[in-house]
Amino acid sequence: MKTLVGKVKAAFAQVQEDLDGLRDRIGELKGERDRVEALPHDIAEIERRVDREIATARERRSLRYPGFFQAFVVDLTLSGYLKRAFEADQLGFLAAWDPVRLKSVLMEDMPLNGITDADRATRLKKLSDDILATEIAEEVLLREMEASTNAPIFRRTDANPAILLAPDTELS
C-alpha cells in the first residue's frame, strides 16, 4: 500500500514537473516575442526614414529669402527673415542649411541592433507557432490530469481562449 501511494505521488510530481516546464517555456517564448516586437528597425530602414524626413523638410524651402528675387521691396531684412525662418521651422531651416550634416548627426545615435520587417515577421510567426504548440501541449496535459483525477484544474488567466474552448479532437 505504501509503495502504491509512493508511486501515485511520484507520478503526480512528474506530471506537475511537466506542467511547470511547459508553463515556464510559454513564459520564455512570450518574453522572446515581446523582445522581438520591441526590436528597432534595421539601419537601412532608419536611414530611409531620416532621408524622407529631411526631404520633406527641404521641400518647405526655409532659406528662400524673397528679398533676393522679388521685384517689389520686401520689408524684412535677410537677417530678420532667417531669424523668423529658424523660429518657425527649425528642422526645415537645418535641412535647407546642410542636409548632409543634418543626416549625419541624426544617424550618429541610431541603434545598430535592428531587424528588417521581413525578419521580424518571420521570427514572430515562428514564436507564435511555438507558443501555440506549447499551449496546446499544456492544455492536453491538463485535460488528461482532469480526466484521471476527475477534478477541475485551474488554467492560466492569460491562457489562449481558442485552446481552452477547442474540442479534444482538435488538440491531438
Binding site: 501555440l132 477541475p152 481562449p161 481558442a162 485552446i163 474552448l165 477547442a166 474540442p167 482538435e170
Partner: protein, 123 residues
C-alpha cells in the same frame, strides 16, 4: 493562424465557473458584513449596559462579561471570514479574467461569422 472550433460544453464550463466564483465572492462579502453588523450591535448593547442605571452592579458585570465574550468570538470569526473573503475574491478574479477573455474571443468569432467567416465553426 490555426483555427479552432468552440466546444459548447467547455464554453459553459468556464462561464459557470466564473458565475459561481462571483456568487461565492458576494456571499463571502455578505457574511463578512453581517458579522460586522452583529459586532456593532453587541458593542452598542454593551455601551447601554455600561450606562444603564437600573441594572444592579452584579448583573451589569455579568452582562458586560457576556458581551465581551461575544465580541471576542465574533472578532475571531470576522478574521476567518476576512481571509475567506480574500480567497473568494482572488478566485472570482481568476475565473472572471478567463471568462472575460473567452467572451472577447467568442465575440470576435461572432464578428467573423457576420463578415462571411474565416473557416471557424461554432458548434
Amino acid at each position: 493562424m490555426r483555427k479552432f472550433s468552440i466546444d459548447p460544453s467547455r464554453l459553459s464550463r468556464y462561464r459557470e465557473a466564473s458565475a459561481s466564483a462571483y456568487a461565492a465572492g458576494r456571499e463571502a462579502q455578505q457574511d463578512y458584513l453581517d458579522r460586522h453588523h452583529e459586532l456593532g450591535e453587541i458593542k452598542a448593547k454593551k455601551r447601554l449596559i455600561d450606562q444603564g442605571m437600573e441594572i444592579p452592579a452584579y448583573d451589569r458585570a455579568r452582562l458586560h462579561g457576556e458581551a465581551d465574550a461575544k465580541i471576542e468570538s465574533i472578532g475571531t470569526e470576522i478574521q476567518r471570514l476576512s481571509e475567506a473573503r480574500a480567497r473568494a475574491s482572488e478566485l472570482a478574479q481568476h475565473h472572471g479574467a478567463i471568462a472575460a477573455a473567452i467572451d472577447d474571443y467568442v465575440g470576435d468569432k461572432k464578428q467573423t461569422f457576420a463578415h462571411g467567416g474565416l473557416g471557424v465553426v461554432a458548434r
